[in-house]
Protein backbone atom coordinates (compact mmCIF):
# COMPACT_ATOMS: atom_id res chain seq x y z
CA UNK A 1 0.00 0.00 0.00
CA UNK A 2 1.45 3.33 -0.97
CA UNK A 3 0.81 5.73 1.86
CA UNK A 4 1.08 8.69 -0.46
CA UNK A 5 -2.11 7.50 -2.01
CA UNK A 6 -4.19 9.32 0.56
CA UNK A 7 -5.99 12.19 -1.06
CA UNK A 8 -6.52 14.37 1.98
CA UNK A 9 -8.82 16.80 0.21
CA UNK A 10 -11.08 13.98 -0.96
CA UNK A 11 -11.19 12.26 2.42
CA UNK A 12 -11.86 15.55 4.19
CA UNK A 13 -14.79 15.95 1.82
CA UNK A 14 -16.17 12.58 2.88
CA UNK A 15 -15.92 13.80 6.46
CA UNK A 16 -17.59 17.12 5.63
CA UNK A 17 -14.54 19.04 6.79
CA UNK A 18 -13.54 22.14 4.90
CA UNK A 19 -9.75 22.51 4.91
CA UNK A 20 -7.55 25.41 3.90
CA UNK A 21 -4.81 24.82 1.40
CA UNK A 22 -2.25 25.03 4.17
CA UNK A 23 -4.12 22.50 6.31
CA UNK A 24 -4.42 20.11 3.39
CA UNK A 25 -0.69 20.25 2.76
CA UNK A 26 0.27 19.85 6.42
CA UNK A 27 -2.14 16.98 6.96
CA UNK A 28 -0.97 15.31 3.77
CA UNK A 29 2.57 15.18 5.17
CA UNK A 30 1.64 14.23 8.72
CA UNK A 31 -0.92 11.59 7.84
CA UNK A 32 1.33 10.08 5.21
CA UNK A 33 4.02 9.61 7.79
CA UNK A 34 1.53 7.99 10.17
CA UNK A 35 0.39 5.68 7.39
CA UNK A 36 4.02 4.78 6.72
CA UNK A 37 4.29 3.81 10.35
CA UNK A 38 1.17 1.64 10.37
CA UNK A 39 2.35 -0.07 7.22
CA UNK A 40 4.15 -2.46 9.58
CA UNK A 41 0.82 -4.19 10.22
CA UNK A 42 0.92 -5.63 6.72
CA UNK A 43 3.89 -7.77 7.71
CA UNK A 44 2.22 -9.42 10.70
CA UNK A 45 1.03 -12.99 10.30
CA UNK A 46 -2.69 -13.00 11.00
CA UNK A 47 -3.39 -16.44 9.58
CA UNK A 48 -4.27 -17.77 13.03
CA UNK A 49 -7.12 -15.30 13.36
CA UNK A 50 -10.31 -16.65 11.82
CA UNK A 51 -12.11 -14.55 9.25
CA UNK A 52 -15.09 -14.01 11.48
CA UNK A 53 -17.29 -10.96 10.95
CA UNK A 54 -18.36 -11.30 14.57
CA UNK A 55 -15.85 -10.95 17.39
CA UNK A 56 -16.03 -14.35 19.13
CA UNK A 57 -15.11 -12.80 22.50
CA UNK A 58 -18.30 -10.77 22.69
CA UNK A 59 -21.26 -11.83 24.82
CA UNK A 60 -24.56 -11.93 22.93
CA UNK A 61 -28.25 -11.16 23.39
CA UNK A 62 -28.28 -8.33 25.87
CA UNK A 63 -31.68 -7.05 24.76
CA UNK A 64 -33.97 -4.31 25.96
CA UNK A 65 -37.62 -5.08 26.86
CA UNK A 66 -40.11 -3.06 24.83
CA UNK A 67 -41.02 -0.74 27.70
CA UNK A 68 -41.20 3.03 27.77
CA UNK A 69 -38.34 5.06 29.23
CA UNK A 70 -38.42 8.80 29.96
CA UNK A 71 -38.12 11.14 26.99
CA UNK A 72 -36.91 14.73 26.91
CA UNK A 73 -39.38 17.59 26.66
CA UNK A 74 -39.59 19.38 23.33
CA UNK A 75 -37.99 22.39 25.03
CA UNK A 76 -35.01 20.30 26.06
CA UNK A 77 -34.73 18.90 22.55
CA UNK A 78 -34.42 22.32 20.91
CA UNK A 79 -32.68 24.06 23.79
CA UNK A 80 -29.23 23.50 22.33
CA UNK A 81 -30.23 23.95 18.70
CA UNK A 82 -28.48 26.88 17.06
CA UNK A 83 -31.78 27.68 15.38
CA UNK A 84 -35.25 26.49 16.27
CA UNK A 85 -38.86 27.52 15.82
CA UNK A 86 -42.10 26.00 17.08
CA UNK A 87 -40.10 23.22 18.71
CA UNK A 88 -38.57 22.20 15.38
CA UNK A 89 -34.83 22.25 14.75
CA UNK A 90 -34.34 24.67 11.87
CA UNK A 91 -31.86 24.24 9.03
CA UNK A 92 -31.50 26.02 5.71
CA UNK A 93 -33.87 24.52 3.18
CA UNK A 94 -33.04 20.89 2.44
CA UNK A 95 -33.40 20.18 -1.25
CA UNK A 96 -33.76 16.47 -1.96
Amino acid sequence: MNSNSIDVAYVAGLARLELTQAETETFQKQISSILDYVEALQRIDVSSVADNPIDPNLPTNVLRPDELRPSLTAQDVVRNAPKSANNLVIMPKIVE
Partner: protein, 481 residues
Protein backbone atom coordinates in the same frame (compact mmCIF):
# COMPACT_ATOMS: atom_id res chain seq x y z
CA UNK B 1 -38.45 -5.03 -31.18
CA UNK B 2 -40.39 -6.01 -28.06
CA UNK B 3 -39.05 -4.96 -24.71
CA UNK B 4 -39.68 -6.24 -21.24
CA UNK B 5 -39.36 -4.55 -17.89
CA UNK B 6 -37.32 -5.82 -14.97
CA UNK B 7 -38.51 -4.54 -11.62
CA UNK B 8 -37.14 -4.91 -8.11
CA UNK B 9 -38.63 -3.32 -5.01
CA UNK B 10 -37.03 -2.14 -1.81
CA UNK B 11 -39.69 -1.78 0.84
CA UNK B 12 -39.22 -0.23 4.25
CA UNK B 13 -41.75 -1.25 6.88
CA UNK B 14 -41.95 0.35 10.33
CA UNK B 15 -42.24 -2.32 12.98
CA UNK B 16 -45.12 -1.98 15.42
CA UNK B 17 -43.60 -1.84 18.87
CA UNK B 18 -44.12 0.27 21.98
CA UNK B 19 -40.69 1.83 21.85
CA UNK B 20 -38.09 2.74 19.29
CA UNK B 21 -35.38 0.48 17.94
CA UNK B 22 -32.50 1.67 20.09
CA UNK B 23 -34.13 3.66 22.90
CA UNK B 24 -37.18 3.67 25.11
CA UNK B 25 -38.99 6.57 23.46
CA UNK B 26 -42.55 5.99 22.37
CA UNK B 27 -42.91 4.58 18.87
CA UNK B 28 -45.99 6.47 17.75
CA UNK B 29 -47.14 8.34 14.68
CA UNK B 30 -48.43 11.83 14.94
CA UNK B 31 -47.32 13.00 18.35
CA UNK B 32 -46.55 16.67 19.10
CA UNK B 33 -43.21 17.47 17.48
CA UNK B 34 -40.08 16.45 19.35
CA UNK B 35 -41.97 14.99 22.32
CA UNK B 36 -40.84 11.39 21.80
CA UNK B 37 -37.14 12.13 21.77
CA UNK B 38 -34.26 11.32 24.10
CA UNK B 39 -30.46 11.71 24.02
CA UNK B 40 -30.15 8.47 22.04
CA UNK B 41 -32.49 9.21 19.15
CA UNK B 42 -31.44 12.86 19.12
CA UNK B 43 -27.82 11.84 18.69
CA UNK B 44 -26.58 13.79 21.69
CA UNK B 45 -22.92 13.40 22.65
CA UNK B 46 -22.48 10.43 24.99
CA UNK B 47 -25.74 8.66 24.12
CA UNK B 48 -25.66 4.93 23.38
CA UNK B 49 -28.12 2.52 21.66
CA UNK B 50 -29.88 -0.41 23.35
CA UNK B 51 -31.66 -2.89 21.04
CA UNK B 52 -35.43 -3.48 21.26
CA UNK B 53 -36.04 -7.21 21.70
CA UNK B 54 -39.61 -7.07 20.38
CA UNK B 55 -38.51 -5.37 17.17
CA UNK B 56 -36.09 -8.21 16.55
CA UNK B 57 -38.68 -10.89 17.33
CA UNK B 58 -41.26 -9.29 15.04
CA UNK B 59 -38.75 -9.03 12.24
CA UNK B 60 -37.94 -12.72 12.62
CA UNK B 61 -41.69 -13.44 12.55
CA UNK B 62 -42.02 -11.45 9.34
CA UNK B 63 -39.14 -13.43 7.89
CA UNK B 64 -40.76 -16.72 8.87
CA UNK B 65 -44.06 -15.67 7.32
CA UNK B 66 -42.20 -14.86 4.12
CA UNK B 67 -40.38 -18.17 4.06
CA UNK B 68 -36.96 -16.70 4.83
CA UNK B 69 -33.96 -18.38 6.36
CA UNK B 70 -33.32 -16.82 9.75
CA UNK B 71 -29.64 -16.17 10.48
CA UNK B 72 -28.57 -18.03 13.65
CA UNK B 73 -26.45 -15.03 14.62
CA UNK B 74 -26.47 -11.48 13.36
CA UNK B 75 -25.04 -8.08 14.18
CA UNK B 76 -25.54 -4.41 13.54
CA UNK B 77 -23.31 -2.13 11.48
CA UNK B 78 -22.81 1.60 11.03
CA UNK B 79 -23.66 3.10 7.64
CA UNK B 80 -22.12 6.53 7.24
CA UNK B 81 -23.66 9.47 5.47
CA UNK B 82 -24.42 13.06 6.41
CA UNK B 83 -27.97 14.35 6.21
CA UNK B 84 -29.98 16.70 8.41
CA UNK B 85 -32.51 13.96 9.27
CA UNK B 86 -29.68 11.73 10.54
CA UNK B 87 -29.07 12.38 14.25
CA UNK B 88 -25.69 10.72 14.30
CA UNK B 89 -24.78 11.05 10.63
CA UNK B 90 -24.51 7.32 10.61
CA UNK B 91 -27.40 4.90 10.59
CA UNK B 92 -27.34 1.74 12.64
CA UNK B 93 -28.35 -0.99 10.21
CA UNK B 94 -27.33 -4.50 9.18
CA UNK B 95 -24.83 -4.90 6.39
CA UNK B 96 -23.33 -8.31 5.83
CA UNK B 97 -25.18 -10.41 8.41
CA UNK B 98 -28.88 -9.53 8.12
CA UNK B 99 -31.57 -11.21 10.19
CA UNK B 100 -33.27 -12.90 7.23
CA UNK B 101 -32.15 -14.20 3.88
CA UNK B 102 -34.07 -15.53 0.88
CA UNK B 103 -37.80 -16.18 1.12
CA UNK B 104 -40.45 -15.03 -1.32
CA UNK B 105 -43.86 -13.49 -1.95
CA UNK B 106 -46.51 -15.49 -3.84
CA UNK B 107 -48.64 -13.32 -6.10
CA UNK B 108 -52.22 -14.55 -5.93
CA UNK B 109 -55.11 -13.44 -8.10
CA UNK B 110 -56.89 -11.26 -5.62
CA UNK B 111 -53.78 -9.24 -4.79
CA UNK B 112 -53.72 -7.87 -8.32
CA UNK B 113 -55.70 -4.76 -9.23
CA UNK B 114 -59.32 -5.67 -9.93
CA UNK B 115 -59.10 -4.72 -13.57
CA UNK B 116 -56.47 -7.36 -14.36
CA UNK B 117 -57.60 -10.21 -12.13
CA UNK B 118 -58.74 -12.25 -15.11
CA UNK B 119 -55.47 -11.79 -16.97
CA UNK B 120 -52.71 -14.35 -17.35
CA UNK B 121 -50.35 -12.48 -15.02
CA UNK B 122 -52.86 -12.63 -12.15
CA UNK B 123 -53.40 -16.34 -12.60
CA UNK B 124 -49.77 -17.31 -13.09
CA UNK B 125 -49.06 -17.82 -9.38
CA UNK B 126 -45.64 -16.18 -9.72
CA UNK B 127 -43.38 -16.13 -6.69
CA UNK B 128 -41.22 -13.05 -6.29
CA UNK B 129 -38.01 -14.02 -4.55
CA UNK B 130 -36.68 -11.98 -1.65
CA UNK B 131 -32.98 -11.26 -1.26
CA UNK B 132 -32.99 -10.31 2.38
CA UNK B 133 -34.72 -8.60 5.29
CA UNK B 134 -32.76 -6.58 7.78
CA UNK B 135 -33.48 -4.30 10.70
CA UNK B 136 -32.37 -0.68 11.03
CA UNK B 137 -33.44 2.64 12.52
CA UNK B 138 -35.60 5.22 10.75
CA UNK B 139 -34.52 8.81 10.20
CA UNK B 140 -36.12 12.00 11.45
CA UNK B 141 -38.82 13.84 9.53
CA UNK B 142 -38.24 17.16 7.81
CA UNK B 143 -40.88 19.77 7.12
CA UNK B 144 -40.03 22.07 4.29
CA UNK B 145 -40.96 25.75 4.35
CA UNK B 146 -40.16 28.47 1.93
CA UNK B 147 -36.51 29.00 2.71
CA UNK B 148 -35.84 26.68 5.59
CA UNK B 149 -36.58 23.20 6.85
CA UNK B 150 -37.70 22.10 10.30
CA UNK B 151 -36.75 18.72 11.72
CA UNK B 152 -38.91 16.60 14.02
CA UNK B 153 -37.03 13.74 15.66
CA UNK B 154 -40.10 11.80 16.80
CA UNK B 155 -39.65 9.40 13.90
CA UNK B 156 -35.88 9.10 14.32
CA UNK B 157 -35.01 5.69 15.69
CA UNK B 158 -38.28 3.95 14.78
CA UNK B 159 -37.54 0.29 14.07
CA UNK B 160 -37.51 -0.24 10.32
CA UNK B 161 -37.44 -3.47 8.36
CA UNK B 162 -35.88 -3.27 4.94
CA UNK B 163 -37.24 -5.92 2.59
CA UNK B 164 -35.30 -6.29 -0.63
CA UNK B 165 -36.72 -8.28 -3.52
CA UNK B 166 -34.94 -9.81 -6.45
CA UNK B 167 -35.67 -8.17 -9.77
CA UNK B 168 -38.40 -10.75 -10.45
CA UNK B 169 -41.30 -8.51 -11.35
CA UNK B 170 -42.11 -7.63 -14.92
CA UNK B 171 -45.21 -5.45 -14.85
CA UNK B 172 -46.67 -2.58 -12.86
CA UNK B 173 -49.47 -4.92 -11.78
CA UNK B 174 -47.06 -7.48 -10.40
CA UNK B 175 -45.48 -4.71 -8.35
CA UNK B 176 -48.95 -3.76 -7.13
CA UNK B 177 -49.70 -7.36 -6.22
CA UNK B 178 -46.38 -7.75 -4.43
CA UNK B 179 -46.95 -4.69 -2.29
CA UNK B 180 -50.55 -5.63 -1.54
CA UNK B 181 -49.54 -9.10 -0.43
CA UNK B 182 -46.62 -7.81 1.60
CA UNK B 183 -48.83 -5.30 3.33
CA UNK B 184 -51.45 -7.92 4.08
CA UNK B 185 -48.88 -10.20 5.67
CA UNK B 186 -47.48 -7.38 7.82
CA UNK B 187 -50.93 -6.42 9.06
CA UNK B 188 -51.96 -10.03 9.51
CA UNK B 189 -48.99 -10.86 11.64
CA UNK B 190 -49.36 -7.65 13.66
CA UNK B 191 -45.85 -6.75 12.55
CA UNK B 192 -46.82 -3.35 11.21
CA UNK B 193 -49.85 -1.29 10.31
CA UNK B 194 -48.06 -0.67 7.00
CA UNK B 195 -50.12 2.41 6.20
CA UNK B 196 -48.30 4.09 3.31
CA UNK B 197 -49.95 7.42 3.99
CA UNK B 198 -48.40 7.47 7.45
CA UNK B 199 -45.03 6.45 6.10
CA UNK B 200 -45.27 3.08 7.85
CA UNK B 201 -44.54 1.35 4.58
CA UNK B 202 -42.36 3.03 1.97
CA UNK B 203 -41.28 1.79 -1.37
CA UNK B 204 -38.41 2.50 -3.72
CA UNK B 205 -38.56 0.98 -7.16
CA UNK B 206 -35.68 -0.13 -9.34
CA UNK B 207 -36.73 -0.56 -12.94
CA UNK B 208 -34.92 -1.22 -16.19
CA UNK B 209 -35.91 -2.47 -19.63
CA UNK B 210 -34.28 -4.88 -22.06
CA UNK B 211 -35.14 -6.57 -25.30
CA UNK B 212 -37.20 -9.69 -24.71
CA UNK B 213 -34.87 -12.67 -24.57
CA UNK B 214 -31.78 -10.70 -23.51
CA UNK B 215 -30.12 -12.06 -20.41
CA UNK B 216 -28.28 -8.94 -19.27
CA UNK B 217 -30.17 -6.31 -17.40
CA UNK B 218 -30.52 -2.84 -18.82
CA UNK B 219 -29.44 0.19 -16.80
CA UNK B 220 -31.86 0.74 -13.98
CA UNK B 221 -33.46 3.88 -12.67
CA UNK B 222 -34.53 4.29 -9.09
CA UNK B 223 -37.99 5.76 -8.52
CA UNK B 224 -38.81 7.65 -5.35
CA UNK B 225 -41.72 9.56 -3.81
CA UNK B 226 -44.20 6.73 -4.24
CA UNK B 227 -46.89 7.32 -1.65
CA UNK B 228 -49.40 4.56 -2.36
CA UNK B 229 -49.56 1.09 -3.86
CA UNK B 230 -51.60 2.35 -6.79
CA UNK B 231 -49.11 5.18 -7.14
CA UNK B 232 -46.39 2.59 -7.65
CA UNK B 233 -48.45 1.05 -10.44
CA UNK B 234 -49.03 4.42 -12.07
CA UNK B 235 -45.37 5.38 -11.81
CA UNK B 236 -44.31 2.15 -13.51
CA UNK B 237 -47.01 2.53 -16.14
CA UNK B 238 -45.32 5.79 -17.03
CA UNK B 239 -41.68 4.87 -16.52
CA UNK B 240 -41.52 1.61 -18.43
CA UNK B 241 -42.77 3.07 -21.70
CA UNK B 242 -40.55 6.08 -21.13
CA UNK B 243 -37.46 3.90 -20.92
CA UNK B 244 -38.56 1.77 -23.84
CA UNK B 245 -39.06 4.87 -25.94
CA UNK B 246 -35.55 6.06 -25.14
CA UNK B 247 -33.78 2.81 -25.94
CA UNK B 248 -35.83 1.94 -28.97
CA UNK B 249 -34.80 5.27 -30.46
CA UNK B 250 -31.19 4.32 -29.89
CA UNK B 251 -30.75 6.40 -26.72
CA UNK B 252 -29.20 5.16 -23.48
CA UNK B 253 -30.62 5.11 -19.99
CA UNK B 254 -28.31 6.62 -17.35
CA UNK B 255 -28.40 5.33 -13.82
CA UNK B 256 -30.68 7.97 -12.34
CA UNK B 257 -32.84 8.62 -9.36
CA UNK B 258 -36.22 9.87 -10.58
CA UNK B 259 -39.00 11.41 -8.57
CA UNK B 260 -42.59 10.38 -9.29
CA UNK B 261 -45.01 13.27 -9.45
CA UNK B 262 -48.46 11.75 -9.03
CA UNK B 263 -50.30 14.92 -9.97
CA UNK B 264 -48.32 15.41 -13.18
CA UNK B 265 -48.30 11.68 -13.89
CA UNK B 266 -44.59 11.71 -14.72
CA UNK B 267 -41.19 10.90 -13.31
CA UNK B 268 -38.60 13.66 -13.17
CA UNK B 269 -34.84 13.45 -12.82
CA UNK B 270 -33.70 14.03 -9.22
CA UNK B 271 -30.04 13.22 -9.46
CA UNK B 272 -27.66 11.16 -11.47
CA UNK B 273 -26.17 8.27 -9.58
CA UNK B 274 -22.57 8.57 -10.61
CA UNK B 275 -20.59 7.06 -7.84
CA UNK B 276 -22.07 4.82 -5.23
CA UNK B 277 -21.94 6.45 -1.82
CA UNK B 278 -18.99 5.31 0.25
CA UNK B 279 -20.90 4.21 3.34
CA UNK B 280 -17.78 2.97 5.14
CA UNK B 281 -19.67 0.15 6.86
CA UNK B 282 -18.13 -1.33 9.98
CA UNK B 283 -19.59 -3.41 12.81
CA UNK B 284 -21.40 -1.30 15.40
CA UNK B 285 -19.07 -1.34 18.42
CA UNK B 286 -21.83 -0.14 20.78
CA UNK B 287 -24.03 -3.19 20.19
CA UNK B 288 -23.46 -6.85 21.01
CA UNK B 289 -24.30 -9.57 18.46
CA UNK B 290 -27.69 -11.27 18.55
CA UNK B 291 -28.28 -15.02 18.42
CA UNK B 292 -31.68 -16.02 17.15
CA UNK B 293 -31.33 -19.69 17.94
CA UNK B 294 -31.56 -19.48 21.71
CA UNK B 295 -35.12 -18.27 22.14
CA UNK B 296 -35.87 -15.39 19.78
CA UNK B 297 -36.75 -17.56 16.81
CA UNK B 298 -38.88 -19.81 18.98
CA UNK B 299 -40.73 -16.80 20.33
CA UNK B 300 -41.30 -15.49 16.82
CA UNK B 301 -42.71 -18.85 15.78
CA UNK B 302 -45.44 -18.59 18.41
CA UNK B 303 -46.45 -15.22 17.00
CA UNK B 304 -47.17 -16.40 13.49
CA UNK B 305 -50.86 -16.55 12.68
CA UNK B 306 -52.46 -18.74 10.04
CA UNK B 307 -51.72 -16.81 6.89
CA UNK B 308 -54.39 -15.48 4.52
CA UNK B 309 -53.69 -18.12 1.89
CA UNK B 310 -53.94 -20.87 4.49
CA UNK B 311 -57.16 -19.47 5.88
CA UNK B 312 -58.64 -19.25 2.45
CA UNK B 313 -57.82 -22.85 1.68
CA UNK B 314 -59.30 -23.94 4.98
CA UNK B 315 -62.49 -21.94 4.45
CA UNK B 316 -62.96 -23.50 1.04
CA UNK B 317 -62.23 -27.00 2.19
CA UNK B 318 -63.98 -27.07 5.52
CA UNK B 319 -66.95 -24.82 4.88
CA UNK B 320 -67.38 -25.30 1.16
CA UNK B 321 -66.94 -21.64 0.33
CA UNK B 322 -66.27 -20.45 -3.18
CA UNK B 323 -62.89 -19.02 -4.18
CA UNK B 324 -64.32 -15.53 -4.10
CA UNK B 325 -66.06 -15.88 -0.75
CA UNK B 326 -63.04 -17.44 0.89
CA UNK B 327 -60.84 -14.69 -0.49
CA UNK B 328 -63.02 -11.90 0.84
CA UNK B 329 -63.23 -13.41 4.32
CA UNK B 330 -59.54 -14.36 4.56
CA UNK B 331 -58.24 -11.02 3.39
CA UNK B 332 -58.38 -9.13 6.62
CA UNK B 333 -57.57 -10.86 9.83
CA UNK B 334 -60.32 -9.34 11.99
CA UNK B 335 -62.90 -10.48 9.46
CA UNK B 336 -61.43 -13.96 9.18
CA UNK B 337 -61.36 -14.29 12.95
CA UNK B 338 -64.94 -13.03 13.04
CA UNK B 339 -66.03 -15.65 10.56
CA UNK B 340 -64.29 -18.40 12.50
CA UNK B 341 -66.01 -17.16 15.63
CA UNK B 342 -69.42 -17.34 13.97
CA UNK B 343 -68.68 -20.87 12.88
CA UNK B 344 -68.44 -21.88 16.51
CA UNK B 345 -72.21 -21.53 16.84
CA UNK B 346 -73.32 -23.06 13.56
CA UNK B 347 -72.16 -25.33 10.78
CA UNK B 348 -73.85 -23.31 8.07
CA UNK B 349 -70.60 -21.98 6.58
CA UNK B 350 -71.98 -20.87 3.25
CA UNK B 351 -75.04 -19.18 4.72
CA UNK B 352 -72.99 -17.23 7.20
CA UNK B 353 -70.51 -16.28 4.51
CA UNK B 354 -73.40 -14.99 2.43
CA UNK B 355 -74.81 -12.91 5.25
CA UNK B 356 -71.48 -11.40 6.12
CA UNK B 357 -70.31 -10.72 2.59
CA UNK B 358 -73.58 -9.77 0.89
CA UNK B 359 -75.38 -8.05 3.73
CA UNK B 360 -73.09 -7.11 6.59
CA UNK B 361 -70.14 -5.73 4.69
CA UNK B 362 -72.45 -3.48 2.73
CA UNK B 363 -73.06 -1.57 5.94
CA UNK B 364 -69.35 -0.70 6.10
CA UNK B 365 -68.73 -1.88 9.64
CA UNK B 366 -65.53 -0.95 11.49
CA UNK B 367 -63.56 -4.18 11.28
CA UNK B 368 -61.52 -3.26 14.32
CA UNK B 369 -64.65 -2.78 16.36
CA UNK B 370 -67.45 -4.96 14.99
CA UNK B 371 -70.76 -4.00 16.59
CA UNK B 372 -72.48 -7.36 16.27
CA UNK B 373 -71.30 -10.48 18.03
CA UNK B 374 -70.25 -13.14 15.50
CA UNK B 375 -72.48 -15.64 17.26
CA UNK B 376 -75.53 -13.74 16.04
CA UNK B 377 -74.72 -14.76 12.48
CA UNK B 378 -74.38 -18.31 13.64
CA UNK B 379 -77.74 -18.09 15.36
CA UNK B 380 -79.41 -16.71 12.29
CA UNK B 381 -77.92 -19.38 10.07
CA UNK B 382 -79.21 -22.06 12.39
CA UNK B 383 -82.70 -20.60 12.32
CA UNK B 384 -82.74 -20.73 8.56
CA UNK B 385 -80.97 -24.04 8.34
CA UNK B 386 -83.54 -25.69 10.61
CA UNK B 387 -86.33 -24.06 8.67
CA UNK B 388 -87.62 -22.09 11.57
CA UNK B 389 -87.60 -19.04 9.33
CA UNK B 390 -87.18 -18.76 5.60
CA UNK B 391 -84.58 -16.86 3.68
CA UNK B 392 -86.88 -13.94 2.98
CA UNK B 393 -87.51 -13.55 6.66
CA UNK B 394 -83.78 -13.85 7.28
CA UNK B 395 -83.24 -10.66 5.29
CA UNK B 396 -85.75 -8.90 7.49
CA UNK B 397 -83.98 -10.15 10.58
CA UNK B 398 -80.60 -9.01 9.26
CA UNK B 399 -81.82 -5.48 8.75
CA UNK B 400 -83.12 -5.43 12.29
CA UNK B 401 -79.86 -6.94 13.59
CA UNK B 402 -77.86 -4.19 11.95
CA UNK B 403 -79.97 -1.39 13.33
CA UNK B 404 -80.78 -2.63 16.81
CA UNK B 405 -77.86 -5.07 17.39
CA UNK B 406 -80.37 -7.47 18.89
CA UNK B 407 -79.91 -11.18 18.63
CA UNK B 408 -81.81 -12.97 15.82
CA UNK B 409 -83.68 -15.15 18.28
CA UNK B 410 -85.07 -12.18 20.15
CA UNK B 411 -85.97 -10.41 16.91
CA UNK B 412 -87.79 -13.47 15.63
CA UNK B 413 -89.66 -13.81 18.88
CA UNK B 414 -90.55 -10.14 19.08
CA UNK B 415 -91.80 -9.99 15.56
CA UNK B 416 -93.42 -13.36 15.79
CA UNK B 417 -91.53 -14.38 12.71
CA UNK B 418 -91.08 -17.90 13.72
CA UNK B 419 -92.17 -20.03 10.86
CA UNK B 420 -95.12 -22.07 11.54
CA UNK B 421 -93.69 -25.53 11.60
CA UNK B 422 -96.37 -27.20 13.57
CA UNK B 423 -97.40 -29.72 10.96
CA UNK B 424 -100.75 -30.31 12.54
CA UNK B 425 -101.49 -26.62 12.32
CA UNK B 426 -100.33 -26.53 8.73
CA UNK B 427 -102.51 -29.55 7.90
CA UNK B 428 -105.50 -27.66 9.22
CA UNK B 429 -104.63 -24.57 7.19
CA UNK B 430 -104.18 -26.69 4.10
CA UNK B 431 -107.53 -28.35 4.62
CA UNK B 432 -109.04 -24.90 4.97
CA UNK B 433 -107.36 -23.80 1.79
CA UNK B 434 -108.72 -26.74 -0.14
CA UNK B 435 -112.16 -26.15 1.26
CA UNK B 436 -112.12 -22.44 0.41
CA UNK B 437 -110.74 -22.79 -3.08
CA UNK B 438 -112.74 -25.50 -4.83
CA UNK B 439 -112.08 -23.88 -8.18
CA UNK B 440 -108.30 -24.08 -7.77
CA UNK B 441 -108.51 -27.62 -6.58
CA UNK B 442 -110.48 -28.58 -9.63
CA UNK B 443 -108.03 -26.77 -11.92
CA UNK B 444 -105.08 -28.48 -10.34
CA UNK B 445 -106.65 -31.89 -10.60
CA UNK B 446 -107.37 -31.26 -14.25
CA UNK B 447 -103.71 -30.62 -14.95
CA UNK B 448 -103.15 -26.92 -14.27
CA UNK B 449 -100.16 -27.29 -11.92
CA UNK B 450 -99.94 -23.56 -11.36
CA UNK B 451 -103.27 -23.62 -9.57
CA UNK B 452 -101.50 -24.79 -6.48
CA UNK B 453 -100.11 -21.33 -6.02
CA UNK B 454 -103.44 -19.88 -5.06
CA UNK B 455 -103.80 -22.56 -2.43
CA UNK B 456 -100.28 -21.89 -1.20
CA UNK B 457 -100.98 -18.21 -1.12
CA UNK B 458 -104.02 -18.86 1.00
CA UNK B 459 -102.00 -20.80 3.56
CA UNK B 460 -99.20 -18.22 3.56
CA UNK B 461 -101.76 -15.53 4.25
CA UNK B 462 -103.21 -17.55 7.07
CA UNK B 463 -99.75 -18.05 8.53
CA UNK B 464 -98.83 -14.43 7.96
CA UNK B 465 -96.10 -15.52 5.61
CA UNK B 466 -94.36 -17.53 8.26
CA UNK B 467 -94.86 -20.96 6.87
CA UNK B 468 -92.21 -22.73 4.99
CA UNK B 469 -93.30 -22.72 1.38
CA UNK B 470 -91.68 -26.06 0.72
CA UNK B 471 -93.52 -27.77 3.51
CA UNK B 472 -96.88 -26.30 2.45
CA UNK B 473 -96.25 -27.45 -1.05
CA UNK B 474 -95.65 -30.96 0.14
CA UNK B 475 -98.75 -31.13 2.31
CA UNK B 476 -101.02 -29.68 -0.36
CA UNK B 477 -99.72 -32.00 -3.01
CA UNK B 478 -100.32 -34.96 -0.77
CA UNK B 479 -103.84 -33.83 -0.11
CA UNK B 480 -104.52 -33.17 -3.79
CA UNK B 481 -103.82 -36.66 -4.95
Amino acid sequence: MPYEAVIGLEVHVQVKTNTKMFCGCKNEYGGEVNTHVCPVCLGLPGALPTPNEQAIVKTIAAGLMLGCDIAPICKFDRKHYFYPDMPKNYQITQFDLPLCLNGGVLLEKFSFPKDVQKEEQALAGKKVRLTRIHLEEDVAKSFHFEDQSGIDFNRAGTPLMEIVSEADMATPEEAFAYLTTLRQIMVYGDISDADMEKGQMRCDVNVSVRPVGQKEFGTKCELKNLNSISGVRRALQYEIPRQIEVVSKGGIIRQETRRWDDAAGQTFLMRIKENANDYRYFPEPDLLPVRTDCGLKAEAETMIPELPSQKKARFMQTYGLSDYQAEVLAQERPLADYYDEALKTSIQGVLIANYIINDFLATNPDLTNLPIPASHFGELAELVGSAKINSKQAKEVLLEMFSSHQSPLSIVQEKGLEQVTDLAELEIFCDEALAANERSVADYKSGKMGAINALKGYVMKKTKGQANPGVIDEILKRKLI
